[in-house]
Amino acid sequence: MRKIIKKILNLCLVLIISTAGFSGQNNKISPHLSKLIKQKGENTVITAWVYFKDKGPDLNQKIEQARQSFNPRVQQRRWRHRHIYPTADVFDVPVNEEYLVLLKEHVSRIRHRSRWLNAVSVETEGANIAGIAVLPFVKKIDKVRSFIFRDPVRGEPFKLNLESMQPVPAHIYDYGPSYNQVQQINVPALHDRGYSGKGVLMCFLDGGFNNLTHESLFPLNILDTWDFVNEDPNVSDQPGQMGNGDHGTNTLSAAAGFMPGKLIGPAFGADFILGKTENSEWERHIEEDDWIAGAEWADSLGADIISSSLGYREEFTHGEQDYTWEDMDGETTIVTKGASIAASRGILIVNSAGNEGNIPAPQNTLVAPADASSVLAVGAVDPSGQRTGFSSVGPTADGRIKPDVMAQGSSVYAAGVNGVSDYEYVYGTSFSCPLTAGTAALLLEVHPDWTSLELMEAIKMTANNSSSPNNKIGWGIVDAEAASEYIFKKVYAPKDFSVRRLEDNYGFFIQYVDRLSWAANPANQDNIQFYALSARRLEDENAVFVQIAELDAQTFSYDSRGLLGSETFLYRLTAVDKEGIESNPVYARQ
């Protein structure tokens, strides 16, 4: 009898353990990936992210090894940001090789390794996923999402109205047809002072770079190139390979082309690395692991600025709703996570806001990673300075104002791909982005001690709508000269200021609450005495900011209660230090 009871108990134990193990494995596989395997069948090769639980033993030692392996440019950049970010941390440690050896038995190819995400992207048959999930060091398996980034329909090229033009002030360069796009953001003033981005390393992540022998690109100092789609150093189109490299040629030339009389971009004197991360056609096919790999590559080479004219949001493209407007909250999509980690390495990420402004959306039409708080999201204006209809709008799903700034994204004069002297007019936030990134390079040359956060602050606070930012044009059109003269206050503005409207139901009536939240700026180093919060009613054009609260330095949220549904406010937050010095304001609105 005892034996029978023992057998039954053992059987129960085995059942419990096996059930727990099975459900544990299933929990590791994301619903999106399970759905994909079901749709395509278990014998189809799929692309998946495999996330690891850790980076193996001796982590501190590995961090130190990573620090010692930094090249001089990386060391310099990390040192510049030492007050706000660690000079080396777990994100710098490569993926554990031992895990890769074991994983290789289950996959046909490892596409990319990501030290930032502690993951690898792999190609494998759907049937192998369950086997990977059993591996004890595997934390999660998810599908690698792919997207199509749409460029807007090209319009008629901008024609200068010569009769109404003011006399052009004398500049040392003749910008030719590209004059308007750089003058609008006041770049020639810095060129006149001798700045051209020298000493700054810019990385372009794009769909390929054809025709690098173009007369405006030939003078550029290109230090390195890599094709992350086809895995070779040639970032131009090659027979039998995927991709179309016109777009990168356009963006690179907008930022840095140099052919006096025809095209001069803001940062022609900078150094460049070019990464092909898109399998591009006119509507560009993008896989997120390629972008992450490109950004990590840029970090390892010491890039100061990444110019990335891409965007991820599947509902606009495949209609599968993998990423929706609610995911544009600065922390959900893979590229947003990657961009935030890149920013924490001290890299300034400049990204196009998106070309989806004409599409009706519940809250925003942003594309990731433009939603990240540490990414400078750039919208598009036309040559006269008016926002173009296609330029994506904010706010982010967590209520932060986006886009950040604007630059010309319509009738942008750029290098073409049909010969060394071919030029064309191009359209999209893809081109307002490199114009702004090039401006950032100029500013970094002027102020080599500025951090990426300071660059962002200077660019935003001197843009032409900085006194009243909104979700269509953000802080407005960039002003390179004003940004170069920007004086930082001793106190840094709080970070990640956002607002979210909540419903407060009292039974007989509904009031609304604006829940404001922010984060401490690490650069302030515990000097903050309090945060000052004020609000301006948006329905009344003549309304002024009225202080609504003073909150102690340990408080990072505030609920503005008792609001009517029709009331909207622009909120303004400053940090005040112990000497009474107030930081620049940050703004948030619904």
């Binding site: 407060d504 139901n505 009292y506 007989f508 009536f509 509904i510 009031q511």
Partner: protein
Amino acid sequence: MKRNNYLGMLRTNFIIIFLLLFMVRIIPAAGTNLELTLKYGSRQVNDSNIKEIYGNGYVFLPSVCVSVFPNFSIQAAYEGGYKKSGSVGLYQDESTLRISGLEISSILWYRFSSFKPYVQLGGGYYFYKQDVENDFVRFQVDHKKVGFILGGGVDIDLYKGLFLSLGIKYVQLEVQPFDVPVDLSGIRILGGIGWGFKL
């Protein structure tokens, strides 16, 4: 919207007619039956949100009933006692809700030995008052609204004019003091003691 106005007018007229009838007989002639009753019972609230916050409750109902025609009486009553506390809104603010009303009803009854079943149709003028007060918010909803009454029950003679009264009534009371419509309607199940006598 037009339908609501029409219903509102109808209700008001209905109440006025009963009020007039009552006034005509307010000083009853000698020999008129007069009944004084006190009932107590449960009160339901239809509105799911209000019910979740405050719940159903109890009411008391003193009334006076005058027979004006054979088998027909007019009843005036006060319904009170629904006073509940509850936490409302995002911040779970403490609040109280009071609902009371003055009612006038026509009673059609019939006597079977010591049992007197009746049906009741009438209207009432109801007061509802919500108070929320704490360090952050202070406000009061204090409104009035006319409602309809439909009910029935039975009076059972006990001893020398004393009777047991059991009844059920439904009060239809939909209010909208601001943007949110709230259904304060609900069934009451009541029981009590009455005393009837002739003037």
